[in-house]
């Protein structure tokens, strides 16, 4: 009985709220329609007015108004661009600078390109709208028959070509540096993307990542990466999820994989980005300049973290495929590394050495790093 009562109340409520929503929707549509009709009637009236005034006269008047608006648009547009810059420059990554050594070159290239294109932008937009205003129809003036001029054509073929050559030369110089081989002393981290998370694998003391085979993937057994444990090199490999640790001021080389669809390791603060493609490993490397703590001070944001964003659409939760990079001091990094257990021991606890042994791997790790 009371259940039935509650049901009717709920029903009434939903009917009521549905009606309310429908009413609101109808009201909204009505308002839009009325606005449309008003605009349309004004437009229609203006057509009649123009017939009364003489079509030619009203056309000329429209011409003057629109020519004037062209200049207004130019001036307001340039002011708007300046204002937009005031508002949002501070929110881009430029004020805090690149967090990687290599990214500085990208920032420099960006500034050069903004400079060059900015000048072209200003010249062409100003000419476009200023000409539109200045050469608006005027009975006293005739248009100037000017079909071609080879010198002018040559001018605006060669000048852009020279500027572009400069941009290409600088761009490619940095491109080859960044896509070239990582330095020998780089910290190697294998990054694997899958829907919708990142996994990280460190090569351990032997500095070699063990072999993988995707067919060895075994979720119940915990072998999420398909590591081949018959390869001795894989025995000391460390597997962590979600948060990746690297030391500051040492090159970091990422070996990038994907398990299901294409993902992308996007590192906006380091100005780096590389796709993760199933079946085709890729690499990228960079040298972090600031630890996470230092960045918190630099940006004035106590919550700052280096984030890995997936930059290649990968499915419904693409937008939440997030991981964090902790850039630590060399000591902090070594301390963290020493605390990690090799994946092999984690998966096969019975094979794990006795309590004393982890200490020895710790010292090995420390000594090799020196």
């Amino acid at each position: 009985m009371s259940d039935g009562l509650r049901l009717t109340i709920v029903l009434k409520h939903t009917i009521y709220s549905n009606n309310f929503i429908i009413m609101k929707a109808i009201l909204l549509i009505a308002i839009v329609v009325i606005i449309f009709i008003v605009i349309f009637q004004i437009a229609k009236a203006s057509e009649y007015v123009s017939i009364l005034k003489g079509e030619e006269n009203s056309r000329k008047q429209n011409n003057k108004i629109n020519a004037f608006l062209m200049v207004v648009f130019l001036i307001l547009g340039l002011l708007g661009a300046w204002w937009c810059n005031e508002l949002y420059y501070g929110k881009t990554l430029f004020p805090q600078g690149s967090a990687s050594v290599e990214g500085e070159k990208i920032d420099l290239m960006l500034y050069i390109t903004i400079g060059v294109t900015g000048v072209v932008f200003l010249i062409t937009q100003i000419l476009l709208f200023w000409f539109s205003y200045k050469y608006q129809e005027n009975d006293k003036r005739k248009a100037y028959f000017f079909p071609h001029d080879n010198r002018l054509e040559l001018l605006w073929t060669t000048v852009p070509a020279i500027f572009l050559t400069v941009l290409v030369v600088f761009g490619l110089k940095y491109w080859f540096k960044m896509t070239g081989d990582a330095p020998k002393d780089a910290v190697v981290v294998e990054v694997t993307g899958h829907q919708f998370a990142w996994e990280f694998r460190y090569p351990g003391a032997d500095k070699v990542l063990g072999k993988k085979n995707y067919k060895l993937y075994n979720q119940p057994a915990g072998n999420l990466l398909g590591v081949d444990f018959t390869d001795p090199a894989s025995l000391d490999d460390i597997h962590v999820g979600t948060t990746m640790h690297i030391p500051v001021n040492r090159p970091c080389k990422m070996v990038i994989n994907a398990q299901d669809v294409i993902h992308d390791v996007g590192l906006p603060h380091f100005r780096m980005k590389m796709d993760a493609v199933p079946g085709i490993p890729t690499t990228q490397w960079f040298t972090p300049k600031y630890t996470t703590e230092e960045m918190r001070v630099r940006t004035g944001n106590p919550n700052f973290v280096y984030e890995i964003s997936c930059d290649q659409m990968c499915g419904a939760s693409h937008f939440s495929m997030r991981a964090i990079i902790v850039v630590d001091t060399e000591e902090g990094y070594q301390k963290w590394l020493a605390e990690q257990k090799p994946q092999y021991f984690a998966l096969f606890p019975d094979k794990a050495p006795k309590e004393t042994v982890p200490d020895s791997t710790k010292t090995v790790a420390l000594s090799t790093s020196k």
Binding site: N66, T92, K105, T113, T117, E153
Partner: protein
């Protein structure tokens, strides 16, 4: 009723007798539905394109609601979208479906079929002086294949698992594996089949345009006397014919991978805990095939807009287009280069850096012909006598947007900068301005300029000016600030940014952009209203040549019948840009060259 029909019939018959062109009697079906008249087919493409544009635009408004107001719910959305918007909040799956369909619809159905289909069909016979296309039948089929493609794509919106949702670029393995995304189930198959139909339509149309331009020009109409619109549409057709088949093959291989167990694009995959047997394929292969069309596609969209803007700028400045041959040369150069730059979409796929450097060089080389075109447009305006017809306003707007969007291409084409900017909102801003909004402006310019020829009536000018100013201001307000989001590395195709420490500060800006987008969309509806109202009730065109234009389409009657010219096709004696020459305002192409006329 019947007498009316008879009188109409005899009238049509008399008109046909006039030019001895034998056509079967036109019924409603043959005149408006299965029409073989290029002008009617053009209108069919245009109206279908407008319907698609409304749908595609509406999708963007819905997903912008989510981006602008990620914390809010909109209960009325549930009334329309059902379980896709449970509780008034868009599901991520459907958000991605909307993004995908928005891209697919706007790129292919509106700015390819709607733009080329409309203006190539309408203008080619009229401007070169032909009675119709080389093959009116194939032309009709081209529309009806497009129609079938439209129906299939539209149907895919209603399947239970949702339409394709892997982005308009449909990269496998995401698009190949139903387990990876619900949009990659039946919705993806429908997408691929629809696109196959669409490509057939595009090929039938393209071959027809090329054949017609090469073979059916009237006496005296040498290639270099053609208006620039013809050059633009000609090279657009060449691009389409050479590149669309590559997408078709890519799509068919993807269909095989999806349904027949092949491994063209699949290798080493574990999806949803399942180990797939596929080995040896390459996910990157699809990207090469896709962008081999995908990049020329940008120019398939842009060239018609560019060339219509050239024509309209010249007519309304009362000046010849500056550097006609340089303009033709740049269109040609763009066409060639368009085939050689596809991998600039793939700089961060792990592409061989040495190979990448070639694509950097060739990509930035496109800036040279583009710069030539911009400076030639500016010189065309210089010392002109400009009439701001609505068409002219949109043509000027096109140049402004082409500059703004083109210059950001120099950032993205340079591979080292692309590493930072790739797949961020900088890219969204870039291609929406240069390929989306600019091409729309070219299309609007064309519609306003040739509407009197299409329907014998004018569009309402006041509505047109409101349309122009709100759209150009709105477009800049929407897309200009997105460059800053891109500089901050904000990735595109995200459903929600509020959990990201690095991107959440743009919440306010996203809300502003969504708000402006809704206004701009509403104003487009004003245009649509103006369009359909003016077809029936617009001010009637009283003069045969209302814009004082030189090209041949204005020598036809105000309402040209099937066959275009009631009498002989006019002979052409000069190029189409003799404006303000020797003190004359304009000299149409069919006027013989006077003896004392100066040479240029």
């Amino acid at each position: 009723m019947s007498s009316e029909a008879i009188s109409h019939g005899t009238q049509a018959h008399a008109m046909h007798d006039d030019h001895h062109d034998h056509h079967h009697h036109e019924t409603f079906i043959t005149k408006y539905v299965f029409s073989q008249d290029h002008k009617m087919i053009a209108k069919q493409f245009l109206v279908t394109g407008i319907i698609w544009a409304i749908i595609g635009g509406l999708f963007s408004v819905i997903f912008r609601l989510q981006l602008g107001y990620p914390e809010s719910t909109f209960p009325w959305l549930e009334d329309f979208l059902g379980h896709w918007a449970q509780g008034g909040k868009l599901k991520p799956e459907f958000y991605y479906a909307l993004v995908t369909m928005h891209g697919t619809i706007l790129v292919f159905f509106v700015l390819t079929a709607g733009l080329s289909g409309t203006f190539a069909n309408f203008l080619i016979p009229l401007q070169i002086g032909a009675r119709d296309m080389a093959s009116p039948l194939l032309n009709m089929l081209s529309y009806w294949f497009f129609f079938i493609a439209s129906i299939i794509m539209f149907a895919s919106l209603f399947v239970q698992t949702g339409p394709a949702s892997g982005g308009w670029t449909i990269y496998p393995p995401l698009s190949a594996l139903g387990e990876a995304s619900s949009g990659s189930k039946i919705g993806m198959d429908l997408w691929l089949v629809s696109m196959a139909m669409f490509i057939v339509s595009s090929l039938l149309g393209g071959l027809n345009y090329i054949t017609t331009i090469l073979n059916m020009r009237t006496k005296g109409m040498s290639m270099t006397r053609m208006p620039l619109t013809m050059w633009g549409l000609f090279f657009t057709a060449v691009l389409g014919v050479l590149s669309f088949p590559v997408l078709l093959s890519g799509a068919i291989l993807l269909l095989f991978d999806r349904n027949l167990g092949t491994s063209f694009y699949l290798s080493d995959i574990v999806v949803a805990g399942k180990i797939l047997p596929n080995e040896g394929g390459s996910a990157i292969l699809f990207q090469h095939l896709f962008w081999f069309l995908g990049h020329p596609e940008v120019y398939i969209i842009l060239l018609p807009a560019m060339s219509m803007a050239s024509e309209i700028l010249s007519v309304n400045s009362r000046k010849p287009i500056f550097g006609y041959m340089a303009m033709v040369g740049s269109i040609f150069a763009i066409t060639i280069l368009a085939f050689l730059v596809w991998a600039h979409h793939m700089f961060v796929t792990g592409l061989n850096p040495f190979l990448g450097s070639f694509f950097v060089l060739l990509t930035l080389l496109i800036a040279v012909p583009s710069a030539i075109k911009v400076f030639n447009w500016l010189t065309t305006l210089w010392r002109g006598n400009i009439r701001f017809t609505p068409g002219m306003m949109f043509a000027i707007g096109f140049v402004s947007l082409f500059i703004s969007g083109g210059l950001t291409g120099i950032f993205l084409g340079n591979s080292s900068l692309d590493i930072h900017l790739h797949d961020t909102y900088f890219v969204v801003a870039h291609f929406h301005i240069v390929m989306g909004v600019a091409s729309f402006f070219g299309m609007f310019a064309g519609v306003y300029h040739w509407f009197p020829k299409m329907f014998g009536r004018y569009l309402n000018n006041t509505l047109a000016y409101i349309h122009f100013w709100v759209t150009i201001i709105g477009a800049y307000l929407i897309f200009w600030p997105m460059h800053y989001e891109g500089f901050a590395g904000m990735p595109r195709r995200y459903y929600d940014y509020s959990n990201w420490e690095s991107f959440k500060m743009f919440g306010g800006l996203n809300e502003f952009i969504s708000f402006v987008a809704m206004i701009v969309f509403a104003v487009q509806l004003l245009f649509v209203f103006n369009f359909f109202y003016s077809i029936f009730k617009g001010r009637k065109v009283k003069s045969q040549n209302p814009w004082g234009s030189n090209t041949l389409e204005w020598t036809t009657p105000i309402n040209p019948g099937h066959g275009n010219w009631p009498g002989e096709i006019p002979e052409v004696h000069r190029w189409p840009y003799d404006y303000s020459k020797d003190g004359k305002d304009f000299i149409p192409q069919d006027v013989p060259v006077g003896e004392d006329e100066s040479k240029h």
